[in-house]
């Protein structure tokens, strides 16, 4: 059925108008605001010691949380798909939890465990380990909020590829590790890569959970999103906008990778994972209809 032209234009106007007002115009505006007075001010704002430290700390979060959740994610996906177990449904539910929990609640939960009156806080501080208001706590928060992505993206691809090639490899004498590295991992690599991109995006931008556990100390426990919020609250708009631009550019890169990754994963035969926080897998890469 081809929609009659007036209806088609009406729908187009509504769709583009909504996207334009809600997404494009605000993001465009922030680029304009940042570069209103040229490249100098934002670059200067981003090369201050606090800003550089915030960037470094944000990258550190990614460097620790993403590999942890990737190894966990692939292992867990293998267990869920290849090994039937009564507990799988429960595991599956628990893995989805971080999608549905407010980041503030995540922060509170870590505060309760590792704070000075927390379950583990006193013991750990006796051992000289400071978790809250320092890097370990922030890493725990990042791991919590980004935990589901790799599992969610790997499971459908793993289901799709089946086990024939793996069986062939083991018939030919490959051991489990060889089969995994030479057969399984190459077959699921785009699904995993897509999950890694989503995990990275989430860790880069995490605000609510990190804000509770970090204490947001400038130059010490301040990630880039915290830096942006604080700069704005202190009326240092230039720094806030410059930081936001750095994060927005990272987000746009992510978006590009998501779009490419989704297409590759589809070409590989997996269900098409264009996903956000809630991991709705859809076939959005199909052009036309």
């Amino acid at each position: 059925m081809s929609t009659p032209t007036p209806a088609k234009w009406g729908l187009r106007t509504l769709a583009f108008g909504y996207l334009g007002l809600l997404l494009l115009a605000p993001v465009g505006m922030i680029f304009y605001k940042t570069f209103e007075h040229g490249l100098g001010p934002p670059i200067e704002a981003m090369t201050s010691p606090d800003a550089l430290h915030a960037i470094w700390l944000t990258l550190l979060m990614v460097a620790v949380a993403v590999p942890l959740n990737t190894v966990f994610g692939v292992g867990c996906a293998l267990l869920l798909v290849r090994h039937k177990w009564k507990g799988n449904a429960v595991l599956d539910g628990i893995i989805n939890l971080p999608f549905a929990i407010s980041p503030i609640v995540v922060g509170l939960s870590l505060f309760l465990l590792y704070g000075t009156d927390g379950w583990f806080g006193p013991t750990l501080s006796e051992w000289g380990i400071q978790v809250l208001f320092s890097t370990p706590g922030m890493i725990l928060a990042s791991v919590f909020v980004s935990l589901p992505f790799v599992v969610r993206e790997t499971v459908p691809v793993l289901q799709e590829i089946g086990t024939e090639q793996e069986q062939a490899a083991s018939t030919l004498g490959a051991n489990a590790w060889q089969t995994f590295w030479r057969v399984t991992l190459p077959a699921i690599r785009w699904g995993v890569a897509y999950g890694v991109v989503l995990t990275t995006a989430r860790v880069l931008g995490e605000f609510g959970a990190v804000t509770i556990v970090s204490g947001s100390i400038s130059g010490e426990t301040e990630t880039l999103p915290l830096f942006v919020a604080k700069a704005f609250e202190q009326f240092n708009e230039e720094a806030a906008y410059a930081g936001a631009i750095v994060l927005a550019l990272l987000a746009l890169t992510t978006l590009l990778l998501m779009s490419v990754g989704g297409r590759k994963a589809k070409a590989q035969g997996g269900p098409i994972p264009i996903t956000g926080d809630a991991a709705i897998s859809t076939s959005t890469t199909k052009e036309g209809s």
Binding site: L22, P26, M29, L78, I104, I212, Y241, P273
Partner: protein
């Protein structure tokens, strides 16, 4: 909804192929359970334990306190308005992306995921720049409830669209053609044929968007003004309680949010299972 997370364990292939390499299955399972317990379950258990640390009476008082109730009500009502708006616009956008042809469609399609990729604090800041006191349109909605709705619309925009798109693609257009040739008008075709087919996707998207909206924090703190009894949502209320040292009260409200989210999550997975069976 095919490929939805909740359906993943339903059709596992027969037990063959590689097992966890190197590690025994039991060991692997133990590690997974340990990781999930340390990272997710223990922290959440601490929240639940803390919420009732003063007894059930104290829990109830914290939740039903005037400021906490005002925040909860505001959060739920705003979230409901937001999912209603995005149910309509999300479906329209999905329709345009699947059934319409125009140059730059791929770019628009990729743009839908922007709210998932953009850090929430940046989302709040961008909206404040355009619709705050310096608005070039002269539209100042900063520190009002309208601002909360706009920010949440931004954050939850992709859910319905991404849930409806695959259903639209799979839909058999012959049904619509048959209806049209039998004399049904455009609206009738939509109401009797298209809408019922898209409904499961719309509902799933709405539930996920609602769960997300309930807990949102980062995009709201700059633009909502966080005024108690007026524009303070639950997550901001929890934060203020933590800062003023009322951790038990913060935990009580957190448990309420957790309970709502969990119910929604279970509803989504039941939906997905029903959809998969059909």
């Amino acid at each position: 909804m095919e490929g939805h997370p909740a359906t993943l364990t339903t059709n596992a292939p027969p037990r063959a192929g590689i097992r966890l390499p190197g590690l025994g299955v039991g060991l692997g399972r133990g590690l997974v359970v340990l990781y999930l317990s340390l990272m997710v379950m223990l922290p959440l258990a601490a929240v639940v334990a803390e919420s009732t640390s003063g007894g059930l009476g104290a829990f109830w008082d914290s939740v039903t306190g005037a400021q906490s109730m005002a925040a909860l009500k505001l959060t739920v009502i705003c979230s409901l308005i937001v999912v209603a708006i995005n149910a309509v616009f999300g479906t329209i956008i999905a329709w345009v992306l699947v059934r319409d042809e125009f140059p730059g469609k791929g770019a628009v399609n990729a743009l839908i995921d922007l709210p998932f990729a953009l850090p929430t604090i940046v989302a709040g800041l961008t909206l404040l720049t355009l619709y705050g006191s310096d608005s070039p349109f002269g539209l100042d909605i900063a520190f009002t409830r309208v601002a909360i709705v706009v920010a949440l619309c931004f954050i939850t925009l992709p859910f319905v669209t991404r849930a409806v798109q695959p259903l639209l693609m799979e839909m058999d257009q012959q049904m619509e053609e048959a209806a049209t040739s039998l004399g049904a008008g455009g609206f009738t075709v939509f109401r009797r044929i298209i809408f019922p087919n898209l409904l499961p996707g719309i509902l799933a998207g709405v539930l996920l968007a609602f769960a997300r909206a309930l807990g949102e924090y980062g995009s709201l703190i700059l633009i909502s003004g966080n005024i108690p009894f007026d524009t303070e949502v639950s997550s901001v209320f929890i934060r203020s309680q933590i800062e003023s040292g009322n951790v038990a009260g913060a935990s009580a409200v957190s448990v309420v949010l957790l309970a709502i989210s969990l119910t929604l999550l279970i509803a989504v997975s039941l939906f997905a299972r029903m959809g998969a069976r059909r």
